[in-house]
């Protein structure tokens, strides 16, 4: 419990900043929504979008161009990019979590106290889960406020569901980050490693979406299993809309494996520094 408190205190400021920045970006994009409802603007937008190559549209998550004059279509399109940023934050948080103690050499102090490696890992995991949920609360709050402003609060229930479901890919990258952290001897390269893995998998995901022959590669990119706009369509019961169930199962498996790998590796780890 004492380590959990310390972790929360140490990382709270960073989480609040991430929450504010992501909320600001969401508000900034949704501020364009009123102009989207203008018929002339919509027409211009769609005509321009239709001129773009199909592959490019697919890579931008516009395989089916949303109706931007509907708040939730606009919201879910913007939100998928926030999920990417949020996943990066979660992965960095996970990757730095255990390795930063070794990088700063404070781990020697912790190891000399009456606390097991397992308890250290659990405390750090719980702290980072709470910090991720804090960022999520910022996003939920901003989403609800913007819905109240632009759509009279008619979609709050769906917004809450989307925010809940989209935590799944966030925790996938968090778990991958933690597993990596348990192998690192220092946090000096943790951000580079986290970003390389994230964008590596994201690019593979884009390739899988744009080149049909390589569509199985999508499973190397958890962020692309179920994008926000697809989740929204399923939630409103749009015809033909389905969730990638295999993606959901694989996400759950990655989280379980990531957590298990962290415990197994960290419990047997020599402190070499």
């Amino acid at each position: 419990m004492n380590l959990l408190k310390l972790e929360l205190k140490k990382n709270l400021k960073g989480s609040i900043i991430w929450g504010i920045v992501l909320s600001g970006v969401l508000l900034l994009y949704l501020a364009f929504f009123p102009s989207m409802t203008d018929a002339g603007f919509s027409e211009l937008l769609y005509s321009k979008l239709n001129m773009l190559p199909k592959g490019l549209l697919e890579s931008l998550g516009l395989a089916e161009v949303p109706d931007f004059s509907i708040f939730m279509e606009c919201y879910s399109y913007v939100f998928q990019f926030l999920v990417i940023a949020f996943a990066i934050y979660a992965m960095i948080l996970g990757t730095k979590s255990l390795s930063s103690e070794e990088g700063n050499k404070t781990i020697e102090f912790l190891y000399s106290k009456q606390i097991t490696r397992m308890q250290i890992a659990i405390s750090k995991m719980l702290a980072s889960i709470l910090l991720i949920l804090l960022v999520s609360i910022f996003l939920i709050f901003t989403s609800i406020i913007s819905n109240l402003i632009f759509s009279n609060g008619s979609d709050i229930e769906i917004i809450l569901k989307i925010n809940k479901i989209m935590l799944l890919p966030i925790f996938v990258y968090w778990a991958i980050g933690f597993a990596i952290s348990s192998f690192l001897k220092s946090d000096s390269k943790s951000i580079v490693i986290a970003l390389s893995i994230f964008f590596g998998s994201y690019i593979i995901g884009i390739i899988a979406v744009t080149i049909k022959k390589l569509d199985m590669l999508i499973y190397l990119s958890p962020i692309n299993y179920n994008v926000t706009s697809d989740v929204f369509k399923v939630l409103v019961g749009r015809k033909g809309a389905t969730l990638n169930i295999a993606g959901l199962i694989i996400s759950a498996i990655i989280i379980i494996l990531g957590v298990a790998a962290t415990y197994i590796k960290y419990n047997k780890k020599d402190l070499l520094n």
């Binding site: 700063n104 102090f109 190891y111 009456q114 606390i115 097991t116 047997k268 020599d270 070499l272």
Partner: protein, 295 residues
């Protein structure tokens, strides 16, 4: 007498390899309740590896360590309830204040109150409200000593504890350790400061190239009639006498050890023109120095 005393640390056939690099190859030792056990050896001999394995920072490749009769790997957390550890390097959460760090350290134990923290901070003249990143190495070292003593540990493991402290504080450290020893605390002291080891330790374990090469009872070490001689001379001289060992020239000084009749030595020296001479008794430090020799 030792047979009646409780064993606090028991290391049997300890081996720790880091891949191709050697850590320790064979460490066997016992430390008894209430004693101060010195642990010395050259750099890279395996002192820190032994300590880090005792504290389960490292897992042994072979062998077993028992502390308070408990296994240092499987019962590490229970053991640490009664252990205080002062590392040679001091790395703490830099953004914290001294008092926050000490409160955090205290939170791992249920027998520490604010009076104890205040007492130790006053004793070591440490300002509680300073931020750790504003402190000098010596003051950080004080934190490491205080956090290790907060909970009245039954076993205190010290790795170069006085490194970075001024002489007054070095003395203060051992005064406080003596106070704690009266309550039955056992001390395991790893240090390069041999006079410190000589002054405060009951027994000394010597480790070299990953192996314990000797364990000595400090009070029973007898140097016989051997003396340490230092002769200051402008010209190099060669004494033709038996009983002279460890001869070396340092600047204009001839250093050697002599065992035999001192009158015979003085007669021999008298044949040469010298500027000064010192005849010194051998100390434990001199005895230990042989272990720091060629590897």
């Amino acid at each position: 007498m030792k047979k009646d005393r409780k064993i606090i640390i028991e290391i049997k056939d300890l081996c720790k390899n880091y891949g191709k690099a050697r850590g320790v190859t064979k460490v066997d030792l016992k430390v008894y309740e209430g004693e101060t056990f010195g642990f010395i050896g050259p750099n890279g001999s395996g002192k820190s590896t032994t300590i880090r394995t005792m504290l389960n920072f490292l897992f042994p490749t072979k062998g077993e360590i028992k502390i308070f009769g408990l296994n240092a790997v499987t019962d590490s957390s229970s053991i640490k309830k009664d252990i205080g550890y002062v590392p040679s390097e001091v790395n703490y959460y830099e953004h914290m204040k001294v008092i926050d760090l000490l409160n955090f350290a205290a939170s791992f134990h249920d027998n520490v109150d604010s009076k104890r923290i205040k007492y130790l901070c006053d004793k070591f003249e440490l300002q509680e409200n300073k931020k750790i990143n504003e402190l000098s190495f010596g003051n950080k070292k004080k934190i490491s000593i205080i956090q290790a003593l907060l909970h009245h540990p039954k076993l205190l493991i010290l790795d170069e504890p006085t490194n970075g402290l001024d002489p007054l504080m070095q003395k203060r450290v051992f005064e406080v350790l003596e106070e704690e020893k009266e309550n039955g605390m056992t001390i395991f002291l790893s240090s390069h400061n041999l006079s410190e080891v000589e002054k405060y330790c009951d027994r000394v374990g010597i480790i070299k190239e990953g192996e314990i090469v000797d364990i000595k009872d400090v009070s029973k070490i007898n140097f016989g009639t051997t003396k340490k001689i230092v002769i200051n001379t402008d010209k190099k001289i060669k004494l033709k006498l038996s009983g002279i060992t460890d001869e070396s020239y340092i600047n204009n000084e001839l250093h050697f050890k002599y065992e035999g009749d001192i009158n015979v030595l003085l007669k021999e020296i008298n044949k040469y023109e010298i500027k000064d001479i010192a005849i010194l008794p051998l100390t434990l430090e001199d005895s230990f120095m042989e272990y720091y020799g060629s590897r």
